[in-house]
């Protein structure tokens, strides 16, 4: 028909043919998003690694979508042939978040999972790893969740030296300087 597809579109189509109901989006050059369900993630990763040549694991991160009550896990993988970053995104319920363990696909996922478990409290059932990664003996809520109040915790836990002047929340000032609005939902968690 004469239509030529870019390599990103080819990838998107490949993924869509392989997985039903998978939403893909070509964001920009060399970047493709795939919005998967929780169950699909591991098979997409495996498929991409084994069949499509996405042999390099770049990153696994977590986003706290407090307002919609969800965590979003983003797996970023990369192929040395096509040079495309494939973002596989999935959303978890914020109540008792849990995700399939995928560290058998790439061993380095282990480290990211440890971090996410500690910082966000996302559980990975069946996952073997050292119990503590960064926070030893942490008893509070996971600190990277947006509803965790850092200042209150600091005041409760640590000693402060008297007479320190520069101790204040600078977010308002930064927002003013750059001319941005602090969104309403964020104000709720503001220190002031």
């Amino acid at each position: 028909m004469g239509t030529t597809y870019s390599k990103e579109e080819i990838l998107a189509q490949q993924l869509q043919t392989a997985f039903e109901h998978l939403i893909t989006e070509v964001v920009r050059k060399d970047t493709v998003f795939a919005f998967a369900t929780k169950e699909q993630v591991s098979s997409i990763l495996l498929y991409a690694k084994e069949k499509l040549g996405y042999i390099s694991f770049v990153h696994l991160s977590c986003v706290d979508w407090l307002e919609s009550g969800e965590f979003e896990l983003v797996y970023i993988i990369w192929s040395p042939e096509t040079k495309i970053n494939l973002f596989v995104k999935t959303r978890l319920d914020r109540e008792n978040p849990s995700m399939e363990n995928t560290d058998m696909i790439w061993r380095q996922i282990n480290t990211y999972q440890r971090e996410i478990r500690e910082m966000f409290g996302v559980e990975f059932p069946g996952f073997v790893g050292e119990k503590e990664f960064i926070l030893e003996d942490w008893e509070d809520a996971p600190p990277m969740r947006r509803d965790f109040d850092t200042l209150e915790y600091v005041n409760d836990t640590f000693f402060e030296r008297e007479g320190r002047e520069d101790k204040q929340d600078v977010r308002e000032r930064i927002a003013k300087r750059s001319g941005e609005e602090i969104p309403d939902f964020a104000k709720k968690y503001s220190r002031e």
Binding site: I134, L135, E136, D137, E139, P143, F148, T150, L151, Y153, V154, T157, F158, F159, E160, R161, R164, D166, K167
Partner: protein, 181 residues
């Protein structure tokens, strides 16, 4: 030995002389301040001419140098290392973070005030202190030693319970086996 500052015996004098002129330093370099130490120790500033030299393990060391912020996780190690050192021993806090938390004043994971947890003989201010300041800190410590006033270890021994209480406030599940005290 330290109780009467004005009356040093000749033995004390010799001891203090050797101690101040031979400081085996254990640099606890977790913070960013560790980058200043190579400069301090090598050709440009040459701390070795003052008798300061690196020690590899706390057993051999006299001086614990804490270079910068301490997270709760590293605090545990620092206490451990400090307790493994043998008397007489001195601590230098290095940089603003050890003094008042510095830029990490509202971090959930770094301590703000080092001398609540272990006794600090000398603080060196700055973020970061340059090698000149570090050497000046060494000189201050030497002055204290010569005067018999660098008695942090003794304070720690005497007020151990107070220190422990503070330490345990941060380190929830007290992890240290009580080997040394």
């Amino acid at each position: 030995m330290y109780n009467d500052k004005n009356a040093q015996t000749i033995v004390d004098y010799i001891q203090n002389f050797t101690r101040k002129n031979s400081l085996f330093m254990l640099a606890y370099g977790t913070g960013c301040g560790a980058i200043e130490l190579p400069a301090t120790l090598t050709s440009r500033y040459d701390a070795e001419r003052l008798g300061v030299r690196g020690a590899a393990t706390p057993r051999q060391a006299d001086l614990l140098l804490i270079t910068g912020y301490l997270s709760t996780k590293t605090l545990k190690r620092v206490i451990r290392v400090y307790e493994q050192m043998q008397d007489p021993k001195y601590v230098i806090g290095f940089g603003s973070c050890t003094i008042n938390g510095g830029m990490y004043w509202d971090s959930y994971n770094t301590i703000k005030l080092l001398d609540k947890y272990i006794p600090v003989d000398v603080y060196i201010n700055g973020c970061m202190p340059r090698p000149e300041s570090v050497i000046s800190g060494f000189q201050e410590l030497k002055r204290l030693i010569a005067a018999g006033k660098a008695d942090g270890a003794k304070k720690y021994k005497e007020n151990l319970e107070w220190y422990r209480e503070n330490q345990k406030k941060v380190l929830k599940n007290w992890p240290l086996v009580e080997y040394n005290w």
